[in-house]
């Protein structure tokens, strides 16, 4: 049974900005849901409406079957972790963590015990007497987490909680957040613009852009079956290649530059029925293979000159300039061409996406129907 439902939620600010438009989203009990999107996509407004910090312009926000649009934040039993930690600057760590309990007038002994317990879980016992200003970013973030978990709320709301931290700390805390979620089991909604973070912590990812929910699913869904060009470009740790293309006269091939990329029957049927030029071919770097030199007879290859080689360890990114545009390929470090070399690029067309003029992915269901 879903715990939280957004039903056609809209948020329009006084200046007319439409931050969230017709949002429909259901979050299941004990789920860890990430809302992912670039800055200004409406993800923060969504979270703040859920918290009660922002009023809802229209639509229904339902928690456990009860409409909570007008319930004040104090009565929603949700805890929030803010991007800037939002610690009380005048209070020590202990008092910061204790505040939610103080607000509920818990007995002193209980407060002391629970704060101590939380501090132990988060390994911040030694900082309890310090003020937030004397702590590092990572320590502050732990204090903010402590303040959220100390009162055992129904839900956690996290607004880019790791946004201000250094890269390696982020990776470490990511794992801890996931672990904490599994221990506490509370429903969590997590806002981020970082897809790596989203995939590392969450069960499902909701991608937002321009105030609208674009796609909801697991990371593999988003990678393999992006609904539109925005999702395809936003997801993927190495950006997807986007090349102008058109459907060849026979309808069986996709023409990219001078090269012909053969389409499967299903793909070609989809493109013929839905496609209008100009089309854009989207192909992920991991689905581009290389052969060096001009073997001559490959028809599916696009030739290009290697410009940049970026080693990543076991694999290497090759960036080549082709007549159709710049293409990145992710290849094993064993077989790397040298800069300036002319190579042939082969696309695994069964993993390709083709976007029409309206940026919708025309091949989205391709692999399922095959």
């Amino acid at each position: 049974m879903p715990r939280v439902e957004f039903n056609r939620i809209c948020k329009t600010y006084a200046d007319g900005t439409r931050a969230v438009v017709d949002l429909d989203l259901a979050v299941a009990d004990r789920e860890f849901l990430c809302v992912l999107g670039p800055s200004g996509c409406g993800k923060s407004s969504t979270l703040r409406m859920l918290a009660g910090l922002e009023s809802i312009s229209s639509g229904d926000l339902v928690l456990d079957g009860r409409r909570i649009n007008d319930v004040p934040p104090q009565a929603r039993d949700m805890a929030m972790v803010f991007e800037n930690y939002a610690l009380y600057p005048h209070l020590r760590v202990f008092e910061n963590i204790a505040m939610p309990l103080v607000a509920r007038r818990r007995p002193r002994a209980e407060i002391r015990e629970r704060v101590q317990q939380v501090a132990e879980t988060l390994q911040i016992v030694e900082y309890l007497r310090q003020r937030p200003q004397t702590l590092s970013g990572g320590q502050r973030q732990r204090v903010a987490l402590g303040r959220a978990i100390v009162r055992r709320p129904k839900m956690f709301l996290m607004d880019e909680p790791l946004g201000h931290l250094e890269a390696y700390l982020r990776v470490q805390l990511r794992a801890e957040l996931r672990r904490l979620h599994e221990r506490l089991g509370a429903t969590t909604i997590y806002i981020t613009h970082d897809q790596e973070e989203a995939e590392a912590v969450s069960d499902r990812i909701a991608v937002m852009e321009n105030g609208r929910l674009q796609q909801l699913g697991s990371l593999v869904d988003l990678l393999d079956r992006p609904i539109n060009r925005f999702v395809a470009e936003f997801i993927g740790r190495i950006p997807i290649n986007m090349l102008p293309a058109r459907l060849a006269g026979d309808g069986q091939n996709l023409q990219v530059g001078a090269a012909m990329m053969p389409l499967s029957g299903a793909q070609s049927a989809k493109l013929r029925s839905g496609g209008t030029d100009p089309l854009t071919l989207g192909i992920r770097p991991e689905h581009v293979a290389l052969s060096s030199g001009s073997a001559g007879e490959t028809i599916s290859g696009l030739s290009g000159r290697v410009r940049v080689i970026e080693p990543q360890g076991d694999s290497t990114v090759i960036i080549a300039d082709t007549p159709a545009g710049r293409v990145s390929a992710l290849v094993p470090s064993g077989c790397v061409p040298s800069a300036g070399e002319v190579i042939e690029l082969h696309f695994a067309m069964d993993c390709a996406h083709v976007f029409g003029a309206d940026n919708i992915n025309l091949l989205r269901a391709a692999r399922n129907s095959e």
């Binding site: 670039p38 250094e166 890269a167 390696y168 990511r174 794992a175 801890e176 996931r178 672990r179 599994e182 221990r183 613009h193 970082d194 897809q195 790596e196 995939e199 590392a200 912590v201 990371l219 593999v220 990678l223 470009e233 740790r237 190495i238 950006p239 410009r307 940049v308 970026e310 080693p311 990543q312 360890g313 076991d314 990114v317 960036i319 710049r326 470090s333 800069a339």
Partner: protein, 368 residues
Amino acid sequence: MAGIYFRDIYKSFGTSRLFEGLSLACPDRKYLCLLGPSGCGKTTLMRIVAGLTEPDSGEVLIGDKRVNGLPPASRNIGLAFQNYALYPHLSVAGNLAFPLRAPIRRGRYRQAEIEERVKRVAALLRIDQLLHRRVNQLSGGQQQRVALGRALIHDPGVLLLDEPVTHLDARLRYEMRAEIKLLHDRIGTTTIHVTHDQQEALAMGDLIAVMRNGRIEQLGAPLELYHEPATAFVAGFIGDPPMSLVHARLAQENGNTIVQVAGSSLSLSEALAAQANMAPSREIIVGLRPKQVALVERPEAGAVATTVYSHGRVGREQQLVLTFGRDEVHCRTSSAIHVTTGDKVWLSISLDGAKLFDAASGRALAHT
């Protein structure tokens, strides 16, 4: 054009000593990445080249010229700051022209030439449409280009970049990385690039110097660092995920050297055994890449019992963090395997391709 050389640099801040005899060379026309966690001294080292910080002792050379004590302006360097440090009261063109109008270059450039250069650099960095904008009206990526342009405009002998792409979002960062590298291929200016991001350093550097606590841990080409880390610190810093570092003991069994890890014994290949025999003590650290550990569901011979600390996903795979005594091991498995935090699982470890480090010094065993 000139190389950059540090010789026996000492530097303290108050009572805390940062560099104690640091030496480092960046040959002419090379792209050197200084890589390390915050506080390792990489930015200070860059500032020493710029003359914004002076070492307590030791020599800094640009080309064959000793630059100690020389004011920053006379070192002929271009510097792009991490936060861009653009002049907010000037337009893009004003920012780009600022170094050319400096008193130290008075009379060197005529007005027409200044304008010409500004146009040329702006075109190179694709900001020619923005020349009359105020810099605070620009996006982060555009500001970054202006900062780069300002550093390049007077044809410096040395280019210093402090986290030049850190503040950009993922896609732009990826694009700018390639562009900066292409630019370097074209103009060939010796460049020092400061970063904390190992992926960025691997992708961009001709050379990488991994730094820690004011010391150079290792200097080498990117893949050299990846495949042959000189210290456990480098091994634990480079790669995504980096090597897992596991404390272990060397022991003898039937005349063969074996490794004891968390109660299990693992045998060593001949090559590794030879390395292990060079170890100064029995206590070692084993560095493992994720592909060397595999999850097995049942205890089997040679498998090591561990506990799941956390699990998440990376791309199509599942990434597990397993606790292993006081160590953590990163392991990748198919997403199909279901485990949760606290589960007991078994790991089969293959030591082929593992790296061995001395536990006390952290130095790689192997090459003597």
